[in-house]
């Protein structure tokens, strides 16, 4: 009989790194952002990732859930993850406060092909918490601004209260180097915003596809219509990028749960171009 | 079992329903399988013999619109129970009853032929003739009937819109039917505990028993898998498996129509139907009730009496 210290032999991809919650931001009534720092200082210093990659957050005793690393790799004070309360794991995450210990398995998955986007104009189309992965790339691009052409953001939510990252939105609204078009499904108390569903607003804005890459994320129904509208506006499938969600467990393409055909959303994704999704025969 | 009569009935019924659920040939002669007919051309593929073991009524809740279903006596009780619980609408189901003298236990047949692959099988009156590469074996049907059939009280379907055959008298009556349970109950507590722990040890939590059960309704909230409430873990230990099986059996109290599908479906040959039969025996003795017999019955677990005739109130000394 022999005991094996697994981490000594092969890196254990199931073992999370311990991390501490250093910030909690109430984004909306059901979305919170958590800022965490890995307990191992060396690991935190060496930590690197690409915009679009995700992490599995553990509340030990409850379980794990997948979230995009919501802060950009250009700002490594902490790692931010935005969590919408939906099930057991996310409810447990919402109970966390400063100083609490969680587990982090990151970075996982692929990332936005930003290198291929350099020199081009970027169009972000987001809805609700779909702004989470887009925010990573937006901040990253703002931090490396000269690498990209015009940046336009069309973002909407159900109501004023459901808009995520209100501080960022305010900041982006003031900046001259990006264009922010904000919308809500229905206006509610607060400074009046343009009204309309995101796909409808997209059609009203009618951006030209030339030199552009479109990146979209949001509720499945929104993505479905946004993809349709982008195609009608003339965007090529290879120039339309989205990021998908699924029920995940292992996060490393082994447990068989998040696959579309032979591709795993956790490993070959979550970032996919529309061209790739069509090849995979993915149904929205 | 009268296949020709059945085909005749199906021919008349098919135009008025969206689907007829019956049996067709499977991968060998001992394994006919459920089939879902939607056109007259498929009628000739129907089979009907003592190897038609499946409880086709189990498919009813998932079928939309109007369906006709071929049921044996035990299966017909399921139709009654499903209708009583509102899981199906009686008016949407055409019941094609098949009086049945018993179905075979494939396990018993395989044991009798030393687990040889079956090339052919035919039923001649009280004999099952099985052909394998090694030759022919003639088996007395009675020796290879499913255990549930040996104590069958309802060989003729308890309700039917059409009957494919003559009524059959039951071989057993009430009390005798549960003698095997009483014999088992007579064993000591330690013996019984050891028995069940040994049986559940080989359970693989595949839930074939649960999914084959026509009356299992918890679906996504199944205690074996849900974490809300979180009563069981996913550990494959004897305790966990015992807990799942006990809870599953208790959920069927006053509802199990003894179709035996749970035990037949189990790939590991665990006698899970015994648990349900035990609970049914208790229901019969405590409440004089048998599930799935009459549409007008009021299931005792759904009713409340301040004074129960056969339950002694807990006396505090």
């Amino acid at each position: 009989m022999s005991s094996e210290q697994l981490t000594a032999a092969v890196k254990n991809p199931y073992l999370p790194d311990l991390a501490t919650v250093v910030g909690v931001v109430d984004e909306t009534p059901n979305i919170k952002s958590f800022r965490v720092v890995l307990n191992d200082e060396e690991k935190m210093k060496r930590f690197s990732f690409e915009p679009g990659q995700v992490g599995q957050l553990s509340v030990f005793g409850v379980g794990e859930s997948t979230f995009v690393i919501n802060s950009p790799p250009t700002r490594m004070e902490y790692l931010q993850f935005s969590v919408m309360k939906a099930g057991e794991a996310t409810a447990a995450l919402h109970e966390l406060s400063l100083g609490d210990q969680i587990g982090v398995r990151a970075p996982l998955g692929n990332w936005f092909p930003y290198r291929q986007m350099k020199g081009r104009d970027i169009l972000f189309v987001g809805g609700g918490i779909g702004l989470a992965p887009l925010r990573t790339l937006i901040l990253f691009m703002l931090d490396t601004r000269k690498d990209y052409g015009d940046i336009t953001i069309i973002y909407g939510a159900r109501s004023h209260a459901d808009l995520c990252y209100k501080e960022d939105l305010e900041d982006w609204g003031k900046r001259h180097d990006i264009e922010l078009i904000l919308t809500v499904d229905a206006n509610s108390p607060g400074p009046p915003i343009r009204e309309g569903f995101v796909p409808t607003i997209l059609n009203e804005v009618a951006p030209k596809p030339d030199h552009k890459v479109a990146i979209t994320c949001g509720p499945p129904i929104m993505i479905k219509y946004v993809l349709q509208n982008l195609a009608q506006l003339g965007f090529k499938d290879v120039d339309v990028i989205t990021t998908l969600e699924a029920r995940m467990k292992c996060g490393i393409g082994l447990c068989g749960r998040c696959n579309i055909g032979s591709s795993f959303i956790c490993k070959d994704g979550p970032v996919f171009s529309l061209a790739e999704l069509k090849r995979l025969k993915f149904e929205m | 079992m009268n296949l020709e009569k059945l085909k005749e009935i199906v021919r008349t019924v098919l135009p008025s329903v969206d689907v007829v659920v019956g049996y067709k040939k499977g991968f060998d002669a001992l394994h006919p399988v459920p089939c879902f007919l939607t056109s007259p051309e498929e009628i000739d593929a129907l089979v009907l013999n003592p190897a038609c073991v499946h409880n086709l009524a189990a498919y009813l809740p998932s079928l939309k619109n109007k369906a006709a279903v071929v049921v044996k006596g035990c299966d017909s009780r399921t139709v009654v129970q499903l209708a009583q619980e509102g899981l199906i609408k009686r008016e949407n189901v055409v019941v094609i009853g098949v009086p049945c003298q018993g179905t075979v236990s494939v396990r018993k047949v395989l044991s009798a032929i030393n687990h040889q692959p079956v090339i052919g099988a035919s039923f001649e009156n009280d004999t099952l003739v099985v052909k394998t590469k090694k030759g022919e074996t003639r088996l007395a049907l009675h020796d290879v009937l499913s255990d549930k059939c040996l104590t069958c009280r309802y060989p003729t379907p308890v309700l039917s819109d059409h009957l494919a055959g003559e009524q059959i008298e039951p071989k057993t009556a009430g009390k005798e039917a549960y003698q095997d349970i009483r014999d088992f109950d007579a064993r000591s507590l330690e013996e019984r505990r050891a028995y069940w722990l040994k049986e559940f040890d080989r359970c693989i939590r595949c839930y074939a028993c649960r999914n084959a059960c026509p009356l299992c309704v918890c679906r996504e909230s199944c205690i074996a898998e849900t974490r809300d409430p979180h009563w069981m873990s996913q550990r494959a230990t004897q305790n966990e498996k015992m807990m799942f099986h006990m809870i599953h059996a208790i959920h069927l109290a006053g509802r199990c129509t003894e179709c035996g599908e749970c035990e037949r479906a189990c790939p590991m040959g665990i006698p899970v139907a015994k648990l349900k039969k035990k609970i049914n025996m208790e229901m019969k003795e405590l409440f004089g009730y048998e599930p799935g017999i009459s549409m007008d019955d009021k299931p005792p677990m759904y009713t409340f009496k301040v004074e129960e005739e056969k339950i002694e109130e807990h006396k505090i000394r």
């Binding site: 009989m1 022999s2 094996e4 991809p13 199931y14 393409g253 998040c258 | 991968f27 399988v33 687990h115």
Partner: protein, 354 residues
């Protein structure tokens, strides 16, 4: 390779007991009417005359195992804080699977590949796999539902086995295929196998021919994309399926799993357990959305994984060993062979299909 050895039938128990002195030996044991891979005890009845109901994959890939345990402790310097400690130590005993069949060994090979040919290999599986020696029995007769040659395996297939056992006169020829196998055959209980080699070759050839007669040669026809994408095809194929996990759990090549946490007061474990893509809730998201809610889609995914997706990742290999357990064990006798054949638009017959 060293010379072949011979195990007299009468010495089978003695040999297994001797193996058991240095390792945990799993063998097909008769329990009531079922043959199951269990630890071989002195009072076990070893049954090699028919395949076990389930595969021995559980020996290397247990149905449930602890990935790591965690402990909650109060921070000594700040009692308001709770700290966590993780421990991923596992026990990995030397193990022998005695009396596997080539379909079992092939199944293990399929899982080996998935868990090792990745940039995040699974250390739990690999640690156990390394300590496991596989002794495979040449399958003399096809069982009902078997179709191993059709998928590129066969009753005398030696790949991924350490020792090949073939029934000969009064015993078994034991041939070492790897170093592990050689080590295992170094036993005074075994005799020289040379006199039995010719017999064994005959038996292996005959076994293969019998299987080919039953199920056909390896079929390399690709899956027809139009049939594969047809909703109507899968709805018909899945109509009687119950959506349980019997096929998945009996299958030598299935390896989907779940990860759940269990806690009692201040300590707990993260558990990995078998799961089945056939279950309705397998892909159910917290929002309520379920990409594979329909039975037809789940069946398509399981069969698609075996006959298409796995091959897309790994050199066209079919992740099915044709053992027929799913067919025999399925409560409604679903036939993966018939469905796969229809997917390839074959006019040929496979095992029992008319």
């Amino acid at each position: 390779m060293k010379k072949a050895r011979y195990l007299k039938k009468q010495k089978e128990k003695e040999f297994i007991a001797a193996l058991g002195a240095k390792a945990r030996v799993y063998a097909p044991c008769l329990e009531d009417e079922a043959v199951l891979f269990k630890p071989a005890e002195p009072d076990s009845t070893i049954c090699l005359s028919r395949p076990a109901v389930s595969s021995p994959k559980s020996v290397i890939y247990p149905q449930s195992e602890t990935l790591f345990s965690f402990r909650f402790k109060k921070d000594a310097e700040d009692k308001r804080r709770t700290l966590v400690e993780l421990d991923d130590t596992i026990e990995v005993p030397d193990t022998i699977i005695f009396g596997a069949r080539p379909c079992d060994a092939r199944g293990i090979a399929i899982i080996d590949r998935a868990f090792s040919k990745t940039d995040t290999p699974d250390p739990y599986y690999l640690a156990r796999r390394e300590k496991t020696t596989i002794v495979t029995l040449t399958c003399p007769e096809p069982s009902s539902g078997c179709f191993c040659t059709w998928v590129g395996c066969g009753p005398a297939e030696t790949s991924n086995s350490d020792v090949m056992m073939t029934e000969v006169e009064d015993g078994y020829l034991m041939e070492a295929l790897t170093e592990k196998g050689e080590a295992l055959l170094e036993s005074p209980i075994l005799e020289d196998g040379t006199p039995y080699e010719a017999q064994a070759r005959e038996a292996q050839k005959a076994a293969h021919e019998r299987m080919v007669k039953e199920a056909g040669e390896t079929d390399t026809t690709p899956v027809d994309p139009e049939t594969f994408d047809s909703q109507a095809f899968w709805e018909k194929a899945a109509e009687r399926c119950l959506g349980c996990g019997a096929c998945t759990y009996l299958c030598p090549t299935c390896y989907c799993f779940n990860i759940t946490d269990e806690t009692v007061v201040d300590k707990g474990e993260r558990i990995r357990s078998w799961d089945a893509c056939m279950f309705h809730h397998f892909t159910l998201e917290a929002s309520g959305h379920n990409p594979r809610a329909a039975k037809a889609l789940r069946l398509k995914n399981r069969i698609g994984h075996k006959f298409l997706y796995y091959g897309e990742k790994y050199d066209g290999i079919i992740a099915c060993s044709g053992c027929g357990r799913c067919i025999r064990g399925c409560p409604v006798s679903m036939e993966i062979s018939t469905i796969a054949s229809a997917l390839k638009k074959n006019s040929g017959t496979v095992s029992g299909e008319q």
